[in-house]
């Protein structure tokens, strides 16, 4: 039979020599190798004290952004939950009442917004789908919990704080290149949102 590669070797069944039968030289050779590893640099990363560098655009825990005046950007259009391949996002929309203009940017807002972190695969499609620049993935890591239910993150955990100093910085994910990319016909829904304005608002927020 013709071999696929030229790397195949004929198995040799030759008798072992006396030195090979002794095994001791081979065992000592092995022990020499393991001993040399005793003095090698350890590869362990002592996690909480020492962290592996992660990318600036790491896809970790989500954040629901507020605009510069502190109003929630999300308008509960549901595009993120449609885009979500893991079906992790659910929301309930509500109408903005008079006097709530400072709280919600649009006339419709998400009264309930939940992401099930056990279902989420952190693909970032929600972020891409969002026409309001409201949801972003951040470089924060989702912490562990003891109960299953605790992994369903509501608005209390997702929406960023009102205090401007505590806002979550997503400027590295919102480069000009990203905005230009969003001009693609596939993201036609984004045309409702003026990219130049978005850059300005980002700059003013941070």
């Amino acid at each position: 039979m013709q071999s696929l590669t030229n790397r195949s070797k004929q198995v040799s069944k030759k008798e072992m020599t006396f030195m090979e039968k002794l095994y001791l030289p081979a065992i000592l050779g092995g022990m020499r190798i393991t001993l040399s590893h005793l003095f090698k640099k350890k590869v362990t990363v002592s996690y909480p004290e020492q962290k592996r560098p992660i990318s600036e655009v790491y896809r970790g825990q989500h954040v629901l952004k507020r605009d510069e005046s502190g109003a929630e950007r999300c308008t509960a259009c549901g595009l993120c939950s449609v885009a979500c391949p893991a079906e992790a996002i659910t929301m309930t929309a509500a109408e903005r009442k008079k006097g709530e203009e400072g709280l919600y940017r649009e006339e419709k807002y998400a009264a309930v917004y939940e992401i099930n972190m056990l279902r989420c695969i952190f693909c970032g499609l929600c972020e891409e789908a969002c026409p309001k620049e409201a949801i972003f993935l951040t470089d924060r890591i989702v912490p562990t919990e003891f109960e299953r239910g605790d992994f369903v993150y509501g608005k209390d955990k997702l929406v960023e704080p009102m205090d401007k100093n505590l806002r979550v910085d997503v400027s590295v994910r919102q480069t000009k290149g990203v905005l230009e990319f969003k001009q693609h016909p596939q993201y036609a829904h984004n045309k409702l949102w003026d990219p130049n304005k978005a850059i300005k608002s980002k700059k003013s927020a941070h």
């Binding site: 065992i27 092995g30 190798i33 590893h37 350890k42 590869v43 362990t44 002592s46």
Partner: protein, 354 residues
């Protein structure tokens, strides 16, 4: 209390030494579990346990507490008496062997001699062999009483392996006894005084390295360490003879292995590497200092051999069972017999045979 001990005619020293030895054996075994994990980690480019206390030195305590807190299960179908007896025997025999090992030269304080050996029986070597072979019962009884196929198979493997390697070990010890001419462990230690005498090394290793090699391989097999750890071969036998054990009864089995390893290392350093003797010990005038260094040297050698045991464990894969039996019966026993014959002939022709 101390004055009472000193003034009363009864010699309390051996009993105090027993307690000290008991505590040291358990302490060394506890820290051997920690060392095992550290050595394994370092040989594999990892850091090992380092969270409990500085460098993780409290890890054995955490492990011990965990072992005690676990639920203790005695299977309904097991033979309850024997089920409890198994780990007890394993632990007992592991601790018994330390009694005949001289841990250092005699310490003389205020004219009173404190021997660092619990008892110097004139058949110390035989005592060692005897107690070690009782150790098989701990594993056999435990495995049989569990009423579990895997445990039984593990116990069978363990007992046949230990009995097979005891033969080669016995013959190699006979060779050792032949050229030392004594069965007393204290005398074996004294014969290896210093390091160099009459133009040759005094340590038994240099007199007959082959005996050491056979004894060392057999010691690995006797303590069920890799590459001879078939009794607890997880892939084939679940957990081996301790499959049904939980809580501290399991802990006793695992602990007994480490105590055995400590004692085996001590025996190897005593029989072949001079025990408490060290080079240039005669140049030191202070007898007390010699004794103290001697104890330190003895423990240093022991710790080194514990390290070698671990080093081997994390280097060599396990033997197949037929390879194990081939090595035991077809290689080590003939080799030790030939070694015995050659040693006898050499002693006869050099006129060392009395």
């Amino acid at each position: 209390m101390t004055t009472l001990i000193m003034t009363s005619g009864f010699d309390w020293w051996p009993y105090i030494l027993v307690v000290i030895l008991f505590l040291i054996s358990l302490g060394v075994a506890a820290y051997a579990t920690y060392a095992e994990r550290k050595v394994a980690a370092f040989l594999q480019d990892r850091l090992g346990p380092n969270r409990a206390g500085p460098f993780g030195i409290l890890q054995p305590i955490a492990d011990g507490v965990k072992m005690f807190m676990k639920e203790e299960i005695i299977p309904n179908v097991s033979n309850k008496t024997l089920f409890i007896l198994g780990p007890a025997i394993a632990m007992l025999t592991a601790l018994l062997t330390g009694a005949v090992i001289p841990w250092g030269p005699d310490v003389v304080v205020d004219g009173k001699v404190y021997r660092l050996q619990v008892t110097d029986v004139n058949i110390g070597v035989l005592y060692l062999l005897g107690v070690v072979s009782i150790g098989v019962y701990g594993i056999m009884i435990g495995g049989w009483a569990s009423n579990n196929k895997y445990a039984l198979l593990g116990a069978l493997r363990a007992s046949s392996q230990m009995i097979s390697y005891e033969v080669a070990m016995g013959v190699s010890i006979v060779t050792l006894i032949m050229f030392t001419g004594t069965l007393s462990t204290a005398e074996i230690a004294q014969q290896q005084h210093g390091f160099w005498a009459d133009g040759y090394f005094t340590w038994n290793f240099f007199k007959n390295p082959l005996v050491f090699l056979i004894f060392f391989i057999c010691a690995l097999a006797e303590t069920n360490r890799t590459p001879f750890d078939l009794p607890e071969c997880e892939t084939e036998l679940v957990g081996g003879y301790h499959t049904e054990y939980s809580s501290m009864k399991l802990g006793f089995y695992l602990f007994a292995e480490y105590v055995n390893m400590f004692i085996s290392s001590a025996v190897i350093s005593l029989f072949f590497f001079g025990g408490y003797n060290f080079p240039f010990m005669d140049q030191i005038d202070n007898q007390l200092l010699v004794s103290l260094i001697g104890v330190g040297v003895m423990f240093a050698k022991t710790v080194f051999f514990i390290f070698v045991f671990m080093w081997i464990r994390w280097t060599i894969p396990r033997f197949r069972y037929d390879q194990l039996m081939n090595l035991g019966w077809k290689v080590l026993i003939p080799l030790s017999l030939v070694n015995l014959a050659i040693t006898g002939l050499v002693m006869y022709f050099t006129g060392n045979l009395e």
